[in-house]
């Protein structure tokens, strides 16, 4: 019997979701095998990971607050990246833009935090971060528009420049370096949490950080922007066919610059949220959201609503694994990264089956020859 691949017609949504769930289940099973090899009970580990240790925990609200701290930058970065991806501009420089935004926000906090009222400082932090990240992203867009450089390579390389810059700031003790804690002998970043921090809306013991609300709000705005505005329409056309966009009289260069700037700005805002909540700079400030955001944006197929769902789930994976690592010392928290990779791989495989099916070749058919 011979088999071959055949195109599938419109795959119903329930089948699609079923296939994706199956992919996740298979990924978890594979992860379970690794856990078994480490002599850890997979069920116990997974239940701890997926509940993030909140069940039977007196300070579960605290856990959820911390989880949201992971969720907000990831969701916002993914939304920002989807803007550029929709235009088929492969911005993989989320990391670098995030770091630069964080440095700018921290600078404002250190320099103006003690002089200005807190709300004003926070707004200035956001604006500074957006500007810094936006320009860092727009630089690549300018080079692409002017000289036709490859944005994937450029954004990738700029990531490392930003990373080594923040490392340099973190390791250089000098009079000018206001980022470091002056009282410490070893070079460590100073905290500004006491002067400025994003406010929380108290709901009983639980405090809802204002960043969460803002993130959802921006998500809705981006959704409308992409779907209903002229700008969003231009992004879709440029992404689909640059030739057609020019033909329609669009100023393609301007659209590319504008969209990339906006995309990077939102990444900067995500970093301001992160820094403004943590109250301290760090070399690992990004938490890899620049990378993970790419995966989230693709898993959601650039659908803004789906991005929120997927980043919530990936957030559970990441934060849950850190929590579980406390109980299961044998399993490092980077287990989440491995699991995330396997899930991405299998979901992409499932995607293939939503578009194709494999069927056996049939023999026969009526013969009415022309001889």
């Amino acid at each position: 019997m011979r088999f071959h691949v055949v195109k599938r017609d419109n795959c119903p949504l329930w089948k699609k979701l079923g296939l994706y769930l199956l992919a996740v289940a298979v990924a978890l099973t594979l992860g379970g095998l690794v856990l078994l090899a480490l002599d850890v009970d997979p069920m116990a580990y997974y239940s701890r990971m997926f509940t993030m240790g909140m069940v039977g925990n007196k300070i579960a609200y605290k856990t959820f607050e911390n989880y949201l701290k992971v969720f907000v930058p990831l969701a916002l970065t993914s939304v920002a990246l989807s803007l550029a991806f929709k235009m088929r501009f492969w911005n993989i420089g989320g990391e670098g833009q995030f770091i630069l935004g964080a440095i700018a926000a921290a600078t404002v906090a250190f320099k103006l935090g003690s002089a200005l009222p807190a709300p004003l400082t926070l707004i200035l932090m956001c604006l500074a971060a957006m500007l810094a990240a936006g320009l860092y992203g727009a630089l690549v867009a300018v080079l692409k528009v002017k000289f036709g450089t490859n944005e994937t390579l450029m954004t990738l390389m700029l990531n490392y420049i930003a990373l080594y810059f923040v490392t340099f700031l973190g390791e250089t003790q000098a009079d000018w370096n206001f980022f470091l804690d002056k009282t410490s002998v070893r070079p460590i970043f100073a905290s500004f949490a006491k002067t400025v921090s994003f406010p929380r809306i108290p709901m009983g013991k639980f405090g809802l950080n204002i960043c969460v609300i803002l993130t959802f709000l921006i998500g809705i705005l981006v959704f409308i922007y992409l779907k209903y505005t002229k700008h969003g329409y231009e992004i879709a056309v440029v992404g689909d066919s640059v030739g057609t966009a020019r033909y329609a009289g669009m100023k393609v260069d301007r659209i590319v610059l504008r969209t990339v700037f906006l995309s990077a700005c939102l990444i900067g805002l995500a970093s301001a949220f992160k820094v403004g909540t943590a109250g301290v700079l760090s070399t690992s400030i990004t938490d890899d959201v620049g990378w993970t955001g790419i995966i989230v944006a693709w898993l959601s197929q650039l659908n803004t609503a789906a991005i929120f769902v997927v980043s919530a789930l990936i957030g559970v994976l990441h934060y849950g694994s850190t929590v579980a690592a406390a109980t299961f010392a044998r399993v490092d928290s980077s287990f989440a990264n491995m699991l995330q990779g396997v899930i991405l791989f299998l979901v992409l495989a499932a995607d293939f089956y939503t578009r194709f099916k494999i069927v056996p070749v049939q023999k026969g058919g009526n013969s009415h020859g022309n001889g």
Binding site: Y233, D240, S241, G243, V361, G365, N370
Partner: protein, 536 residues
Amino acid sequence: MAEQYAIEMRGITKTFGSVVANHDISLNLRKGEILALLGENGSGKTTLMNMLSGIYKPDAGEILVEGKPAAIDSPEDAKKLGIGMVHQHFKLVDVFSAADNIWMGKEKAGFRLKKSRYAEIGRMVKKFGFELDPQKLVRNMAVSEKQTLEIIKVLYYGAKVIILDEPTAVLTVQEIEKLFRVLHRMRDEGHSIIIITHKLNEVMELSDRVAILRKGEYITTVNTAETNEQELTEWMVGRKIDLNIQRPPMEKARPLLEIRDLTIRSDEGATAIDHVNFYIRGGEILGVAGIAGCGQKELCEAIAGLRPVQSGLMIHKGDNIVGLSPKAILEKGISMSFIPEDRLGMGLAPSLSITDNMILKNYSQAKGPFVDRKGGRADAEHVIRELEVVTPSADTPVRRLSGGNVQKVLLGREIKAGPNVIVTAYPVRGLDINSSYAIYNILNQQKKDGVGILFVGEDLDVMMALCDKILVLCHGKVMGVVHADKTTKEELGLMMTGALDLSHKYMDKPAGYARDTNITAEELEKLAQTKEQEEK
């Protein structure tokens, strides 16, 4: 005993999703015959042949080669069975020489590239009676040379059965005659040939038998000598059809668009359009004939403002439009639609819906920051109804539509905007008879409304029937402007290859100058000055 065929296909079915490309098709190819496979676009000719050459696998049915069942899983299998296909889009490596293109697919070619390969392939070329330099790089070849190379390649691999997919689409009249001579000789040497086409005159001239497909179904096979064009059309289309193209006579109007001494560079910086003159009157269709890549694309792009002009004038209703932005030219009522080879590259955004494509050129006119999809949807539904576009809905992405419907959407949008000049390149490229005639009717209707139409085409028969005048380009130069009803195919063919230059046929003025020009003396003087400077 039953006759043994070179190829027997039995009950072949192939589906792509819900689209049945081939349904239960049976086809036999005799040894040493030329079989024409005739059918409209989308009737499944190429799909069927791709299954013979191992590119697709049938869902059902079997293939017999020399009477023995064969499993053709890959082009490699087809090659071993002696089946070779010359595709419509050539499969050649541009930076390789002719010999290396053949060599790389050869079995037991050895690890080392030997010098002797040129001599060996040169001998081979002579043996089959072709002319081709084995050392010439593919990228330096003309289209007809590339096709020759493809045929030699297939023969070199020892093909007994040769399939050609629309081989004449890219050739001039003279080159077609040469190709037909080659095919006849190959047949006489014992090769079996299948030629895919939808051109009836070629079928009549070339083939021994004709097999007809319609909408993925096998209709019949007849001996060419016992049939005629009318009968074949009816089988192909499924009903009687009038094969005459209308050419409504019109009153002479003032020139709408005048091109004077226009020079344009190609992407590579070479001169694509070389001091070209022509004009279009309102209510006139001016055809542009020329071998593919003779500057047609650059000319269309320049008129639409998408390509910078080196020198010359483009006068639209008395205003020079050189240097204006695409948007400004659009607003003057000049519409350009170019159907490239992939049919989607310019003018449409393939992943976007019909509605979204409708608003492409006027989305910015909506008030406020939002796009007006309501108006776009109404326009889309109007075009779908008026031009009989086959689509599930106005929200269907354009890429899901078949070629004819894509082109109707494009032309529908252009006409809806109410232009006064329509530049259209290859509007019937790859369309079946029905859709082509629908497009000709649309253009004629526009002509009656007083629109000036520049029709860049490839089928000389069509252009001679539809256009009022035909401008012939050869390597970016005008070879002359002739009246479509007074010229012959041979004359056009000679002009296209540059063998005949009629650009100074009339003593008093060069071809393409309007007697009642709108160009002012001042502008002409300026033009003459720049020309003088150029010559210095």
